[in-house]
């Protein structure tokens, strides 16, 4: 880490995160053996070596804590382990999500799944759908000659936010619980990460869907839907084993296609 930004004396200021120096990193690595990312909520081992000493949590009682307690839920520093990515890592994962035939996404994110992709890709998609949906409706009306006045419907923002955030959060959660019930070991963070990156291809297709030709729009959305759905399905297949769960994989495929069709029908009609 550079000296330029760790040199700020901010630890005495309210709300700041103290700088993690090198010796704190070494101790954090030894103590963070229980802070594996299989567990969610994150336990507080992530901030043990960083200077946050709560009154009821002296460092020497660390070993007796179970690995899955809820103590770190309201502390920002215990979530930084899910955002431990650099720019080039995020760009690499983004580009590999455009490839529907890989099937190896989980092995790429295995050591370090991140929630940054989920949050900001879905937020970008919400904004792009709301903005370009209005623009596409206007262009289609102008093209078919019915009316040429621009009207901005703010309701698009609400629908886009509910749909995209709802899908991106609820579907991986449902799969996590379903797979846990079925007995196979699943990791919620990796599911969220994978589904989040799978939405990235819709951002590009939204720009293409501006073209006001109906047949072309359907073609574009079918292609993107299939690409995104096969990305999700192939990666799920590589993650879970067993033939009796292939129903779940097919369901994931069709859910993604349904999302694509919904986007076309609601925003780009």
């Amino acid at each position: 880490m550079d000296d330029s930004y760790t040199g700020l004396p901010t630890s005495h200021l309210l709300g700041s995160v103290p700088a993690a120096t090198n010796d704190a990193n070494n101790t954090a690595k030894q103590e963070a053996s229980d802070a594996n990312m299989q567990t969610f909520p994150p336990n507080q081992a992530g901030d043990r070596g960083r200077g946050y000493h709560t009154l009821d949590n002296p460092p020497e009682t660390f070993e007796e804590q179970p690995a899955n307690n809820w103590r770190g839920v309201f502390s920002v520093s215990s979530y930084t382990q899910y955002f431990n990515v650099d720019t080039d890592v995020v760009i690499f994962r983004l580009i590999s999500s455009f490839n529907p035939y890989g099937g190896d996404f989980f092995s790429k994110i295995d050591a370090n799944p991140d929630l940054y992709g989920l949050i900001w890709i879905s937020t970008t998609l919400v904004f792009v759908l709301a903005a370009l949906g209005n623009l596409a409706t206007y262009l289609m009306q102008k093209h078919t000659g019915t009316s040429t006045s621009w009207s901005f419907d703010v309701g698009y923002m609400n629908v886009a936010a509910c749909a995209i955030y709802g899908y991106a959060i609820v579907v991986p959660l449902a799969y996590y619980f379903f797979l846990q019930y079925m007995g196979s070991n699943a990791s919620l963070i990796r599911f969220w990460c994978m589904w989040g990156y799978s939405l990235s291809i819709f951002i590009i297709s939204s720009f293409l869907l501006l073209i006001p030709v109906e047949a072309l729009r359907w073609l574009i959305i079918i292609l993107t839907g299939v690409a995104s759905a096969s990305f999700v399905a192939l990666n799920l297949k590589s993650c879970i084993e067993g033939n009796e769960l292939s129903v779940a994989i097919v369901a994931a495929f069709f859910l993604q296609i349904a999302l694509a069709v919904f986007i076309k029908v609601w925003f780009f009609a």
Binding site: Y79, A131, F152, N158
Partner: protein, 248 residues
């Protein structure tokens, strides 16, 4: 002792002492029984001097710098409080939005942060967009206000989660002050309803806002993650800019 309800006397420069002694309470006017022929030997005490208006103290560290205890802000006139806050907003605005030599150092850039300025700017932007809209006015205000307020909090959390070093409220304050150019742009777009003009004005003010926010955000995180911290700021300003252009 209970002081009489009057404006406090201005703090006078004293030799700095480790323990700040309270100034002597204002004494009532001593009786002057002396005959007319003798002029009073000493100048009258401070209490008979007409009390000048209290100084607008823009720096709360006056008490710590050896000038005596801070002026009592509870009994000052309301206009003085408002004037003090307004002058702080203006000085913060000049620091953040206009070029000045302290921009590269986030520790100095907004040392005296406040949240009144951001509040005014966000509400003003929401109101301007709501006035410009022809339908669903309240929904437009709600979307604009929610987007900006929640956006500022989420952007700050984003930097903290990426392992950056910022102070939470200082960052909220800074992101609010950087909205000032977009406020100006929204006002111009409301007054003149021409699409080309709107696009040009929004592009210029968007660039200005991003330029204002860039040094603070980029110096707060690891250089390898700079783009990860800056992209959401850019996204928020672009979405607000689009709202300004698109509202009819």
């Amino acid at each position: 002792t209970v002081l009489p309800a009057r404006p406090p006397s201005p703090p006078r420069a004293q030799i700095p002492v480790s323990s700040s002694l309270p100034p002597p309470p204002p004494k009532p006017a001593p009786p002057k029984p002396q005959p007319h022929s003798f002029p009073p030997p000493l100048p009258p005490p401070s209490s008979s001097v007409p009390a000048p208006p209290p100084l607008p103290s823009s720096r709360p560290e006056i008490a710590a710098s050896g000038f005596g205890p801070a002026p009592n802000t509870l009994t000052e006139p309301v206009w003085d409080t408002v004037k003090r806050d307004l002058s702080r907003i203006v000085s913060n605005l000049k620091l953040v939005v206009f070029p000045n030599p302290y921009r590269e150092d986030p520790g100095k850039a907004l040392r005296d942060w406040d949240l009144w300025g951001p509040f005014f700017f966000i509400v003003f932007l929401g109101l301007t967009l709501s006035w410009s809209a022809s339908v669903k006015k309240s929904e437009v205000f709600a979307v604009a206000f929610g987007l900006l307020a929640a956006g500022a909090v989420i952007l700050t959390l984003n930097v903290l989660l990426l392992g950056g070093h910022i102070i939470f409220f200082q960052s909220l304050s800074l992101l609010g002050y950087c909205l000032f150019p977009l406020d100006v742009g929204a006002l111009i777009c409301m007054l003149k309803d021409n699409v080309i003009l709107k696009v040009v004005v929004v592009c210029v003010t968007l660039a200005w806002s991003s330029w204002a926010a860039y040094p603070f955000m980029s110096s707060a995180v690891n250089p390898r993650r700079k783009a990860l911290a800056l992209y959401p700021v850019f996204l928020m300003y672009v979405s607000v800019g689009f709202l300004i252009i698109a509202i009819d």
